[in-house]
Symmetry: C2
Subunit: 413 residues, 2 copies
């Protein structure tokens, strides 16, 4: 391993100490003190090499290097924020690889006195995870015009702190108006088992799974758990529990891997040991690579909801909904990445992304290349999340070569 | 209605304004500012009539009147604390009726220059509800030696505030050592439909339902909700939901009214929209008037748990358990109350209590009389909780007469 790669790995493992949980993981939710610390780490790294670091109004952190005055920028990045008790790789790998990729290119261009067609920059998107503040992919959502800035800033966490106040507390709410973007690239861990199973080092993401994400509000009626006869109860938690079980049963109706369903968040009111719950809020999602499967699953879900309303004696209201179809990344970007991987001799394969990424937003406004490296055992959003060092290094090599092509105008429309 | 009864009702409805929710209910959880306010209200009422008001180390509020120097006390009371978004009657009726009963008796004895065999006093037990600080019936539990004082004071609410600090904040942690108690009386709303259905005004509680209350911890594994295939998931919320559904199915296995099961409190970790939950804590209880039914239901529950561990791929750990059999109130107390009700011409009937009460603790250390008045539609732990004014007044008349008998040594052993 060369000293450049070693420096990158050292930096990566250094950042893993910020917000460390003590069990191999990190806790660096969006806008937390640990998020502020890692943002300053990135700013220091890029500033030291002459990059201009600035924050936009939703706290996206940009580190830009202007080599060709007035030219648009190729942006490379991901997110440093994490889930609670999360792994060290999700998002952070992409940002640190982006930083080292552009630093390498900047040095190369400086040494060779060559100016690329486009300028380059690193971006650390605010709140990709959406655990503390909803929805997820907030920073790239605002940047691409899909989420209203004021609504995002007014969003509160469970303790009532707004995004605005959280960003101000870590000094990361700015007024920066980012320049024109020519292309975007992102690298991320796969968070699944597919590539590991196939022995593939680089995944070329050609599209994302379709998803229907729903908020449901189950309405019951407060009552005494001891004295209220069962026939009189309108138990919101019973209705919600039936919905959680139904979601799994619908997934089990299809072959494994065809449909993913989950309820990750569920909140009970008043949540007292002796009170039949009057309200449960929950977030349920259905995901599939096959839009027909998703439509059929959605139909089954709504049929089950109608039955649960009767059997649990509750009302189930659908709140916000966030649905997207299978959407492609630009095929030219996939082809470009395939040829780069072939040149580098890296085993590669086209893959879909099951999870959402900031690149899912960016691909809708600029040519975007999305790359994966393998996850050991597919473990993610878990302190045991792991990608081997050699794969981290291979991904950096791949990303650097792709960004060089993009900066040279490879995907110029 | 006489002016004395009117004054009582006015006082009762006045107290309903403390911590009012604006929808007919109240929120006065143990140790809150509203709890402090109602405690001062009670202290002022009793102090004005020469009662000595003091707080013991767990915040039980005693208002005592010594008429027969050195004699033990007949204590009358209930609790002023409430559930979140609760009704105005649960507990508060019992304390205010107790205060007006002893004030009437004190006036009568003063006017007639007669000293009763026993002295009298009012008690407002701390934290009967157990919603903010667990377990419920904390004040009477400590008083009767069933709960350790230090453990109770160290108990924290979900924000980390201890009972000690909450009591200090409202100035209600004292050093009072209550005198000998000769007997205890309590009146409460039924919180069920039984008495209303039977057209009964006064319920004579002869025993309590048996109950098994369990804390369960469901252990899964954090994973990404989008990318983790179903077969790999260890979803703690799925396991918990199956347990909630199983609890209801076990109740449905018996005739309505025979077995009550509930999960009132359930907390998900990490509770993020895109993370498969790794842990759920929940409180599940089974209650029945028939100990054989309870034992059979308990067996069914544990059989279901073993199956859920396999089908949801989770581990279910049983945490704390709090179980009690059917226990009688002293039959002499029930007979005394029956004869008082007959003398007063009040329709009465022996009943069981499905809910726990402070009297459930007190009956284990002194002769105890527990009375009920009807609840409209059995609604309780709900802002719509209602008992008609005429029943409130009838209950006060009944309680006053019973306490007079107790003060005269009717249940002297």
């Amino acid at each position: 391993m060369n000293t450049d790669d070693r420096a990158f790995l050292d930096a990566f493992h250094q950042v893993g100490k910020i917000g460390a949980t003590g069990h191999g993981g990190v806790e660096r939710q969006a806008g937390s003190a640990a998020d502020g610390e890692q943002r300053r780490w990135l700013a220091d790294l890029l500033s030291a090499s002459g990059f201009a670091v600035n924050y936009d109004p939703i706290g996206n952190e940009f580190g830009l290097l202007e080599l060709t005055p007035g030219a648009p920028y190729v942006l490379v990045g991901s997110h440093l924020d994490s889930q609670p008790t999360a792994g060290r790789y999700d998002g952070a790998y992409g940002v640190i690889a982006a930083a080292y990729a552009v630093l390498r290119l900047a040095e190369k261009w400086r040494d060779s006195h060559v100016a690329p067609t486009y300028n380059i920059g690193v971006v650390n998107w605010f709140n990709e995870e959406g655990s503390r503040f909803k929805p997820s992919m907030m920073g790239s959502g605002v940047f691409t015009g899909k989420i209203d800035l004021t609504a995002a800033l007014d969003t509160t966490d469970p303790r009532g702190t707004t995004v605005r106040d959280a960003l101000d507390a870590i000094g990361c709410r700015g007024e920066y108006d980012a320049p024109n973007i020519a292309a975007y690239a992102e690298i991320h861990i796969e968070q699944g088992r597919g590539m590991e199973k196939e022995g593939v080092t680089i995944g070329l993401v050609h599209s994302n799974w379709a998803a229907n994400k729903y908020e449901f509000l189950v309405h019951g009626e407060q009552a005494h758990t001891g004295s209220t006869v069962i026939a009189d109860r309108k138990d919101a938690l019973l209705g919600a529990s039936m919905l959680v079980v139904a979601a799994r049963e619908i997934a089990d109706h299809f072959d494994d891997g065809v449909l993913h369903t989950s309820v990750g968040e569920l909140t009970v009111y008043p949540n007292s040991p002796v009170v039949v719950p009057s309200r449960v809020n929950l977030l349920l999602d259905l995901r599939s690579a096959d839009e027909d499967v998703l439509a059929e699953a959605d139909r089954m879900l709504h049929e089950r909801i109608a039955k649960i309303q009767v059997s649990a004696n509750v009302q189930i209201e659908r709140g916000s909904a966030h649905c997207w179809p299978v959407t492609p990344y630009q095929p030219e970007g996939v082809q470009l990445a395939a040829s780069v991987a072939a040149d580098l001799g890296l085993r590669h394969q086209e893959v879909m992304t099951l999870a959402g990424h900031d690149s899912t937003n960016m691909k809708d406004i600029v040519p975007t290349v999305m790359l994966f490296v393998p996850s050991v055992d597919g473990i993610s959003h878990n302190e045991q999340e792991l990608t081997h060092d050699e794969d981290l290094v291979a991904g950096l090599t791949m990303l650097t070569a792709v960004v060089e092509k993009l900066a040279d105008g490879a995907l110029k429309s």
